[in-house]
Each structure stands twice: as structure tokens, then as C-alpha cells.
């Protein structure tokens, strides 16, 4: 940020990073931008740890039998930790907490979120949840799978179950308060001129996500509380020997955890809307359809939890109803994919790193979404349930889609957040390694699953070994890709070229303040119009960035 580029007209003005200094100014900050950066660092660190556990699992699976360096119980802990860390510490909080916190108020035209102190509290709840999870590890670990199914979770001897469940409970409240903050911010803090249909689609996506966070997460809270009480006091509501019902836990758990997966994907879809539109310099196709499909997904997500329980013994009628609604929840997602494709068509596409991640998303999400359909089909699911087919499906949507979108978003807003440009050359290499590695890892798992390899197994039949070896090789390639990405991003923080206010030619409000933004977001009032009308955006050679033509007529609204 102190490189002396001759094209940098801007003097080293105050920005949110330099406004105040010292560790306490960060620990007690109320600035949404700083909170977003803290979330980003925390979430990426957790991703690294969760990824390590994944590599442990994949390395074990190179050989079908027992190995000396990890036994079956330790293996169970490894995949449990991988899942719990990734789901609760990374994917659910990542986009709303890291990118959402940073971008939402600026994109909206506000000075901060509605409740800045609650925002900081949300972050510290996340930290508390993370500490409780680490404590759980040290207290004896837990091997229940991230889904904590009863009766195993209430009877297993690993002593870390209650601490980690408490940790997830706390993380749930972090999520609830972030969602509450975003809903109120979007409703109440829109400046004059920013009507609902002038909001960029990322805000619609974050709004739909926030609704789910507020309504679904409390049910997880009570489920976890009941699990703790059952484990600690043996009350017996999930224990068949005491007149309880273990499937009741599954109903409670999935009532939250299915909407949770839409908490994971919806913000990612919002990011993709932004990336695709900006990097193809084209008005998003079907704005209102994309906006409403986010809300539709949020509503439908509450109605399909039973599709995780087709083989649990629930009635045929419930199975049929859940299967039917599961098919219909695919429709709004498909609407988005078609709209993005139509946006790309005849666009002036620039294959920046962010755009590459966006295109990767389109491919990987299509596969991930389509493979959800055989899982939602009752007779096929009998065979595919609890196999690697499920594992491959959810990695395609959670990692190949949500995480890829997050990484794409990090690249897209990196210049804005830190005021530096990263190396596009290494960016493309990193993206390619991740994309190729990902597909090699997980496409083979579809084959494994459909041929009968069960999930969460320490040992397997020798006929599956070739697939497992290929999958593990892919995992290492992917890991390399993430290391490369981390390396060039970190490098850019110290040695990157100074970033202009608008490096990509975006039209939404965050591109109208400096990179990095000033402490209070805007030094002059931004112009609010159609966030996808790029006709007024032109290249400024002196600044080496884009600018919005100040003499242009006000842009027409989205249709």
C-alpha cells in the first residue's frame, strides 16, 4: 500500500486500514470493514486446518486395509473434525461474515451495518465457538460425524462431544446475529434512491441468506441443547430404551441443516451474479428473476429436510412429499444458471482470475446441482444413501460452488479491500490447479459411490483402491493450488501494485470509493442507479482503472 506508483493520483489518504492503529483499535473496532477482514483471516485459517484433516483422511484412503499411523477411531475423528470445521467454522460464516460484512454496507450506500456492536459481538461469538472446538479436540476429541446422530453421539466415550456441541451452539448465535444485522440493514439503511430493485444481486442473495440464518439456526440451537442434556443427564428423549426416538434427533437436526446448506450457497450465487456481470461488462440477464429466485430458494429450503432421511424409516407419504419438493427446489437454482449463461452471451468477457472462478462455479455447480436429483429420487437414493455419491455431490455444491465463489469473491474485491492488485498470471495457475484437482478428487467419488463404496469407512474393498488413489492425487493437486493462491495473495499485500478505485469496471457503489475505502466509506455521495448498466463506465488511462462518467445521464433502472 505504500508503493509509489506514478499513476497513483490519490495521496496516501486515510483509509479504514490506516485510520487508527494498534491491536486494540482492531479488537474493539466497530467498523464493518475491519470486522470483515478479521472474519476473513479467521475463516481462511480454519479452512487450512479443516483441509489438513481432509488430507489426513484422503491419505489414509490410499490403502484399503489398516495402516500403522492412524487407527479406525482416530480416522473417525479425522473426518468428523474435517466436516465440523468446514461446515460450522468455514462455509456457513465465510461469505456473510467476511465478504458480506465488508461489501454490504458500501454496496448499499450506508455507513455501517445497523448494529455495529452486535456485529463485533458476532465475530467474538465465532472466536468463542472456535476455541470451544479446539478445547473439544484437546479434551478427547469426537468421532460422531459432523451430523452428531443419536444414539451414537449420546453414548460415545469420546469426551469432546459436549464441548464441541457447545461450540457449535455458540457459532449458531454468531450466525443468527449476523443475519439479523443484515436483514435490518437492508430494510432500514438504504439511502435515498436505493430502491429494492436497484440493489445489486449480491444484496438480494445476502438478504435471503440472512432470513434463513435468523429463522433456521435457532432450531439447531435447541437441538444441540437437547443433545447436551441427553448426553449429560440421560433424559432419554432420543433413546429407544427409554421410550424416546433417535429419528426425532434427525428431524430436528436436518430442519436446520438443510436450510443451512442454502446459507452456504446463496451468498456464493450472489457473488457469481456480480462477477459474471462485471467481468463480461454486461447487464445481468433477468435481474428480477434472479432476485426472486433467491427468496424462493430461501422459502423452499425449509420444506425439504426429509430428503436426508429417506432410509430412516419415515412413512412413504413423507418420502414422496419430500422428494417432490426437493425436485422443485432445483428450479430456482436452474433459473439463476440460465440467467448467468444469458448474461455471458455476447458479453465483453475478460478472463480475469475472478471470472475464471466464476466460470468454474458454473461448471461445478451444474454438476453438483444435477447430482442432487438422483439423490432426491427415492428408489435411487436407497442405493446411493451413505455412499461416496453423496460425498461427491455435497463437495461439488459446498466446495466446488460455495467455496469457489468465495475465492472468486476474494479475488474480485481484493483490490478494494487491500488497495493492491495481485498477479493475474499466478491467479490463473492457482485457479487451474484448484479446478483440475477438484474434479479429479471428486468426480471419481461419484463412480465410487454408485458402485457401492460407503462413506465414512476406514477400510474398504480392494476393488475400489484405484479410484481412491486417483481421488487422493487430485486432493494433493488441489491443496497445491490453494497454497499457490495463498502465496500470491499474501505477496500482493506487501508488493502488489496500487489498486485504482475501480479496477474491473463495476457499476455498483463499492467501486465509487477509493481502494481501500475511507473509514466512513464515502467521502462524497455516490450516484445510485442501475448497478449493472455499464454503458457509463469507461477506462481512465491515467488511473489505470475504470471510472463512471460524471456527465452521463442517470442510468435506467433494471427491468
Amino acid at each position: 500500500m505504500t508503493t509509489s506508483s506514478p499513476t497513483a493520483n490519490a495521496q496516501s489518504t486515510d483509509n479504514y486500514l490506516t485510520f487508527t492503529r494498534g491491536i486494540k483499535s482492531w479488537m474493539f473496532t466497530l467498523d464493518h470493514k475491519r470486522i470483515g477482514v478479521m472474519y476473513l483471516v479467521s475463516v481462511l485459517a480454519s479452512f487450512f486446518v479443516g483441509g489438513l484433516f481432509a488430507l489426513i483422511v484422503r491419505t489414509k484412503l490410499l490403502t484399503p486395509g489398516e495402516v500403522s499411523w492412524i487407527d479406525a477411531d482416530q480416522y473417525n475423528q479425522a473426518f468428523t473434525l474435517h466436516g465440523a470445521i468446514m461446515v460450522f467454522l468455514v462455509i456457513i460464516p465465510s461469505i456473510p461474515g467476511a465478504l458480506g460484512n465488508f461489501v454490504l454496507p458500501i454496496m448499499l450506500g450506508a455507513k455501517d451495518v445497523a448494529f455495529p456492536r452486535l456485529n463485533l459481538f458476532s465475530y467474538y461469538l465465532w472466536v468463542t465457538g472456535a476455541f470451544l472446538s479446539v478445547y473439544a479436540l484437546l479434551a478427547g476429541g469426537f468421532d460422531t460425524g459432523w451430523t452428531f446422530y443419536t444414539p451414537y453421539s449420546t453414548t460415545t466415550e469420546t469426551a469432546g462431544v459436549i464441548p464441541v456441541v457447545m461450540g457449535v451452539f455458540v457459532l449458531g448465535f454468531s450466525s443468527i446475529f449476523t443475519g439479523l444485522n443484515f436483514v435490518v440493514t437492508i430494510h432500514k439503511l438504504r439511502p435515498p434512491g436505493m430502491t429494492w430493485f436497484r440493489m445489486p444481486l449480491l444484496l438480494w442473495a445476502l438478504y435471503a441468506t440472512a432470513l434463513i440464518q435468523v429463522l433456521a439456526t435457532p432450531v439447531l440451537g435447541i437441538t444441540l441443547l437437547l443433545l447436551i442434556i441427553e448426553r449429560a443427564f440421560g433424559i432419554g428423549i432420543f433413546d429407544p430404551d427409554m421410550g424416546g426416538d433417535p429419528v426425532l434427533f434427525q428431524h430436528f437436526f436436518w430442519f436446520y441443516s438443510h436450510p443451512a446448506v442454502y446459507i452456504m450457497i446463496l451468498p456464493g450465487m450472489g457473488i457469481i451474479s456480480e462477477i459474471i456481470a462485471v467481468h463480461s461488462h454486461r447487464q445481468i440477464f433477468g435481474y428480477k428473476y434472479v432476485a426472486f429466485s433467491s427468496i424462493a430458494i430461501a422459502i423452499f429450503s425449509f420444506l425439504v429436510w426429509g430428503h436426508h432421511m429417506f432410509t430412516s424409516g419415515q412413512s412413504e407419504l413423507m418420502n414422496v412429499v419430500f422428494s417432490f419438493i426437493t425436485f422443485s427446489v432445483a428450479i430456482p437454482s436452474a433459473i439463476k444458471v440460465f440467467n448467468w449463461l444469458a448474461t455471458l452471451y455476447k458479453g465483453a468477457i475478460v478472463l480475469n482470475t475472478a471470472m475464471l472462478y466464476g466460470l468454474a462455479f458454473m461448471f461445478l455447480f451444474t454438476i453438483g446441482g444435477l447430482t442432487g436429483l438422483p439423490l432426491g429420487t427415492l428408489n435411487v437414493d436407497i442405493h446411493l444413501h451413505d455412499t461416496y455419491f453423496v460425498v461427491a455431490h455435497f463437495h461439488y455444491v459446498m466446495m466446488g460452488s460455495a467455496l469457489i465463489a468465495m475465492v472468486g469473491g476474494i479475488h474480485h474485491w481484493w483490490p478494494k479491500m487491500f488497495g493492491v492488485m495481485f498477479s493475474e498470471f499466478w491467479g490463473r495457475i492457482g485457479c487451474t490447479l484448484v479446478f483440475v484437482g477438484f474434479n479429479v478428487t471428486f468426480f471419481t467419488q461419484f463412480m465410487l459411490g454408485s458402485q457401492g463404496m460407503p462413506r465414512r469407512y476406514y477400510m474398504y474393498q480392494p476393488e475400489f483402491q484405484t479410484y481412491h488413489v486417483i481421488s487422493t492425487m487430485g486432493a494433493y493437486v488441489m491443496a497445491l493450488g490453494f497454497f499457490v493462491t495463498a502465496a500470491y495473495l499474501l505477496h500482493s499485500l506487501f508488493f502488489g501494485k496500487k489498486a485504482p478505485a475501480n479496477p474491473w469496471g463495476g457499476r455498483s457503489l463499492e467501486w465509487q470509493c477509493t481502494s481501500p475505502p475511507p473509514h466512513d466509506n464515502f467521502s462524497t455521495t455516490p450516484s445510485v442507479g442501475n448497478p449493472y448498466d455499464f454503458s457509463d463506465v469507461r477506462w481512465n488511462e491515467a488511473e489505470q482503472g475504470y471510472e463512471i462518467d460524471p456527465n452521463a445521464v442517470p442510468s435506467k433502472d433494471t427491468h
Binding site: 450506508a110 448494529f115 436483514v183 435515498p192 432450531v219 440421560g234 432419554g236 421410550g243 426416538d245
Partner: protein
Amino acid sequence: MSAAHTSTDPTTAHAEHDHSHDPHGEHAKYPFLAHHFDSPAQQFDSGKFGMWLFLATEVLFFGGLFVAYAVLRMLHPEVFAYASHYLDTILGGINTLVLIASSFTMAMAVRFAQTNKRIPLIICLLLTLAGAMGFMVIKYFEYTHKIHENLIMGPGFYRPVDAQEATIAMTDPGEPAPVLKLDSSLGAPAVTPAAASQNIIGIPLPAMDRTAVVSPLAGPSGVVDLAGTPPAERSQYAEEALREVPTADTPHLLDPKLPVNTHQFFAIYYCMTGLHGIHVIVGIGVISWLVWGAFKGRYNSNYYTPVDLVGLYWHVVDLVWIFLFPLFYLIH
């Protein structure tokens, strides 16, 4: 840059707004106005909306327990009919009236805050606080009485209160009393060491027999819907469980009419009333903070937001109890 307005746009009422200063003097005029809000009205609206959203999460949080209640009651209706007699309806009723009254005083407190009446505000807040504490005191007596009788959640429910009860229960030849068949691995020591010395050797505690009410009509949990079973097929104990009413003084383990799985009632009872009690305690804390703020003169007709929002919270806490009371205390 000027704000871009379309001529037909009704929302662009303001002129250019420089964010880094205070163009209308709002922030200087209202010291409670936070920097990121433009007007006190916007701040109040946002706070209120946020509180309603939080209350929605509370409803969903308790909602899970209400669903668990519904499932358990559907599975074991005879348990709920029987066990509710162990709850003191009078005390529960007093608690209900106390909470409703405290909601009223809370609403009055909001009104007094809005109309700048500081002393009545403090009085009403203190009355609300008194109601909340009174509720917890009554709750304390209810809970301690039950714990004393071993009417608790978990397998401890089946632990005899004393050696004499254990002796009677296990050595009475005429009454097999199936509900006392316990698996000792459930961790409840059957007798005190003193009793053991009285030559009550090894209460055998065989495995808990949940098929005690044996019938081909038993559902997946092994329990029969007693009321729905034809009389000829009911066990002798079922008949009596449906007819006779236990009293709070009857040691529950000695009652041959005790339905299997009665512990489930107390499990959900303690979970729900306990969680509610925790919310009352939090309410006590928050209302105390309001009393302190009112004492310092922080609330007036311009700024009564905290009183209003805490009032909303307190009304929801009251509402939850209004649902709990009939569901547990008024089953018969």
C-alpha cells in the same frame, strides 16, 4: 458527484448528503443518535425491527421444544395424563398471574418513559422486577420439592428416595411393579451405603422392562396407547393408571399405576420450564439495567428505545409461559 435521481422517483427526498459531517445537525441535537443513522426515527425503527427479529428466533428456539413435547405426548399420552398430577396447579396458576401482572407493569413502564414520568417509570420497572423475582422464587420451591421426591429427569427418576422405599418396592411379593426393573448400568445407585448394611443385599435391578404393558398394539417404542387399547387387551396396571389419580405425597415408585416412561414427562417439563426460567433470569438482569438507566435519567420522550425493546422481550417471555402453563399443569 451528485446523486442521480430519476424524475419519477419518490424516494429521493433528500439533497446531497455529505456523509462525513452532520448537515442537519441531527447528531449534535440528539447525543444518543449513532453515527451511522441519519435520524432518531431511523435508529428507533431499526432497533425495533431488530428486536422483533430476535423475538422470532426465540419463538423458533422454544418452538423446537414444543415440537418435542408434541411428539412425546403423542407417543405416551398416558404418561402426560398421569404425571401432570405431580405438578401443583395452584402454584402454577399464581406464577401465571404474576407474570401477566408483570407484563402489565412493564407496558406501563414503557408508557411512562414515553411521557417523561421518571418516578412512575422506576416504580413500574421495580414492580416488574418484583414479579419476575417472585416467579423465580415460586419456581425454586416447585423444583426443590420435586427434586426431593426424585421427580427428576433421567434415570434417577427410578432411584428410590430412601432405603425404606427401596425395600418396600423390591420385597413386596404381591406387586411385580415392572417399572422398577432397571438396568443398573443407568448409573443410579439404588440404596444408600447405610441401607446396604441393613442386609438389603444387592437390589438386583434387572433390565428396564419397557414392554411391561405387553400388547400386540405396542408401537415402535414398545409402548401402547392405553386409552386407545380395548379394555380386554390392557394389562391390569393400565386400567388402574387410567382410573386412579396419584397425589404428590405418594412416593411415585411405590405406585403400581405408574406408567412406563413417565420420566419422559419430567424430562420435557424441566427442559421447557428450565429454559423459560433462564430467560426470566436474563430478563431480571436486563430490567435491572433499565432501572439503573432510569435512575440516571437516561430515558425520556426522545429516547425510550431500551425500555420499549426490553418490554417486547418481556412480553414474549410471558407469552411462552402462558403456553407452558396449560400444556403441563392443566392436562386434566
